[in-house]
């Protein structure tokens, strides 16, 4: 069985260093770039490469806390609905005369609250898996968004709000800088703090962690609350990108986000994986989609490519284990 020790404490040999999943991702990433450059003349262009990030980074903010959730061996499929609900409430408040700055804060608060409710339900009802809890809240949160806004779309935000999704700092997109800041923060939280170490411990063995004094419940609630908060951050950027909002935005985001996290080498069995892998996966999938979009590939072919890539990505490590005689027991 693959050792479930903390990745950061693994003795780092040279061979071990290059055998990490992240290197595989780097190779894949280079393959994607090489392929795209060959396929389209428009790919290798600073402006295009830069602007492409603006169109796929919105959901990447949810990837960061989702890494924590999956390391905990949980899952959150309500994030897309949280995006919709917090965005709808923000827009609705603004339309009713609340200043945009305040509406923005409410948006973040709503997302945080939704995440907190998820965490609370999961902790209070341990018999229920997170799949089911977040499946129900997924339907409920979006349901509330529909009740609030019905068939309306609300928009006409102040000009400065546009800046979030479309603006540049110098020549770098604001959204890219924001993502970089959050990515570093979450990376530090996961790899450099006791909080992060506890998350790994719970993911590896919740019962043992509980007995050794880790406050499992508290950590789970914090992690799910963070997911809610980051969904609200995504809501801000997405709403700014679209200039308006309606209850059906961000449908299916949860699956995209989970796919990126898994591709990043974070094992859904819990306890394993690193932030850098997920971040690499965000850019890998983002540029793959963008490159194939530049040659105007059909949507159905794109679906097949992404699906096969996901299957391929998770099969390779399993095959590797088998090759070395270790038993990859997955249920």
């Amino acid at each position: 069985m693959e050792p479930r020790v903390l990745t950061s404490k693994k003795p780092l040999t040279l061979k071990g260093f290059f055998l990490q999943w992240e290197w595989m991702l780097v190779l894949l990433f280079i393959a994607v770039i090489v392929m795209n450059v060959n396929l389209s003349d428009y790919f290798w262009d600073y402006n295009n490469l830069r602007d492409a990030t603006m169109s796929f980074l919105d959901k990447a903010f949810i990837v960061l806390p989702m890494v924590f959730i999956i390391i905990l061996a949980d899952i959150d499929i309500s994030v897309g609905s949280i995006v919709a609900l917090s965005s709808v409430i923000m827009a609705d408040l603004y339309a009713h005369g609340v200043p945009m700055e305040l509406a923005l804060i409410v948006c973040l608060a709503v997302g945080t609250l939704c995440g907190y409710i998820n965490g609370l339900l999961i902790v209070k009802f341990k018999e229920l898996s997170s799949v089911i809890v977040t499946l129900s809240t997924m339907i409920i949160y979006r349901g509330i968004a529909y009740i609030l806004l019905k068939d309306q779309s609300v928009g006409k935000f102040p000009k400065w709000f546009n800046y979030l999704g479309w603006g540049y700092v110098g020549s770098i997109p604001f959204i890219l800088i924001a993502f970089a800041v959050f990515a570093v923060l979450f990376g530090i939280l996961l790899h450099k703090t006791t909080f992060g170490r506890k998350v790994y411990a719970i993911g590896s063995n919740p019962t043992a962690s509980r007995y050794s004094g880790v406050q499992v419940d508290r950590i789970k609630i914090i992690v799910f609350t963070l997911a809610g908060l980051m969904s609200a951050v995504t809501a801000l950027f997405l709403t700014s990108r679209m200039g308006s909002t309606r209850p059906n935005i961000a449908t299916g985001y949860e699956l995209d986000v989970i796919a990126m996290v898994v591709l990043g080498g974070i094992s859904t069995a819990g306890g394993k994986g690193r932030m850098i892998g997920a971040i690499l996966a965000v850019f890998l999938i983002g540029y793959l989609r963008y490159g194939l979009g530049l040659i105007n590939i059909s949507a159905q072919t794109l679906l097949i490519v992404i699906g096969l890539l996901l299957i391929f990505a998770v099969s390779v490590p399993k095959l590797k284990w088998k090759g070395t005689g270790a038993k990859g027991k997955a249920v």
Partner: protein, 357 residues
């Protein structure tokens, strides 16, 4: 050692997988009927060939495939290259991404059938700032996001014609219901508004609109909603379904329940989907415009804009291939080009049209 070998092999596999996919697309583009054309490696200025793109709402929709086909035909008649795109889900987010991809490719024009009238505004304005001519067709974007709009038919005419048709079917009295798409579908909501306005006319005093139901353009939901209508309103005389999925689902329910003489059906439907029910008399007649013509007109409008023949201002005229001369007219605070009145399909002409689209 073994590990290194496996990992190396895996990397090679990955590269071949990706490269293989790249190869496949090109084939798919060349062979697939409705697949977008692969424009890989063709610089934009080669021989002065312009590139015009169309984005439909979602893939795998025959109505959209026909619009894209018409667009392609128009663009190729002008000796230019058409790029056809459609996301796998009908969302504005996916369309924004496609607009970005087209801006990167520096296309000359974008025609879009929008999934949301407002949400594409920032993206489309970015495209227009980059010098791309943007028009919408079928489902409009708001006036600030486009140069002009190609309207398949006047919403007012659609709404009023449907009510007039229903009134004729049921002899001017009885209960009617509407089975729409999603509750936030802009086209359908505008048409329903006009239907309600037409119903205010005193000559329809005996016609009562009892409910607007939403089938969300899903087969199973449209069927349940139709069944619920029939049961909740036993005296229902007619159903108007201004959506292609809804009208076919309603036709199926009425056929299965043998209600063809009791409840009439009309609305907007695809001839190929509805042929069965028009021939059997469940739906005496219905309306639709020719989606190929909508795309074709959009193609010529985009061409005229790219060539500088028009600027999208009211009163300008241009020749749209086989459709003859078209004029730009006002539409709220924007402008539009009108295709014409909706076309009526009945048992007399359905046989020839069901093979077309």
């Amino acid at each position: 050692m073994k590990k290194v070998l496996t990992l190396g092999l895996a990397a090679v596999m990955a590269v071949t997988l990706l490269a293989g996919c790249g190869g496949n697309n090109k084939e798919a583009g060349a062979s697939g009927g409705g697949s977008p054309s692969a424009s890989a490696g063709q610089p934009s200025d080669a021989g002065g060939k312009k590139r015009l793109a169309i984005i439909f709402k979602n893939t795998g929709n025959p109505y959209g495939e026909k619009q894209m086909e018409g667009f392609k035909k128009a663009v190729e008649e002008n000796g230019d290259e058409a790029i056809l795109k459609a996301p796998d889900q009908p969302t504005a987010e996916a369309q924004i991404q496609m607009i970005e991809e087209l801006i990167s490719q520096k296309v000359d024009a974008i025609a879009i059938a929008a999934n949301d009238p407002d949400a594409l505004q920032p993206a489309l304005q970015k495209a227009m700032n980059a010098g791309i001519k943007v028009i919408s067709l079928d489902s409009a974007v708001n006036a600030q996001s486009r140069i002009t709009h190609v309207n398949q038919a006047d919403p007012e005419r659609i709404g009023r014609t449907l009510i007039q048709g229903v009134s004729e079917m049921i002899g001017g009295e009885g209960e009617i219901a509407i089975l729409s798409a999603t509750s936030q579908a802009t086209n359908q909501n505008t048409w329903i508004e006009w239907m309600k306005k037409e119903l205010e006319d005193p000559k329809y005093a005996n016609i009562k609109l009892v409910k607007v139901a939403y089938g969300d353009d899903l087969r199973d939901k449209s069927v349940s909603e139709t069944e619920a209508l029939l049961k909740s309103y036993p005296n229902l005389k007619a159903i108007i379904a201004p959506t292609t999925v809804g009208i076919a689902a309603a036709g199926k329910v009425l056929t299965d329940k043998g209600l063809k003489d009791k409840v009439k059906l009309t609305g907007l439907g695809l001839p190929s989907e509805m042929a069965e029910y028009i021939e059997s008399g469940v739906c005496p007649w219905m309306y639709l415009w020719n989606p190929i013509d909508v795309g074709y007109l959009a193609g010529y409008t985009a061409e005229a804009l790219v060539k500088g023949e028009i600027t999208g201002a009211v009163g300008e005229k241009f020749t749209a291939g086989t459709l003859g001369e078209k004029e730009i007219v006002a539409d709220g605070d924007g402008t539009q080009v009108m295709l014409g009145d909706p076309f009526k399909f009945d048992s007399g002409n359905i046989a020839e049209w069901k093979e077309v689209y």
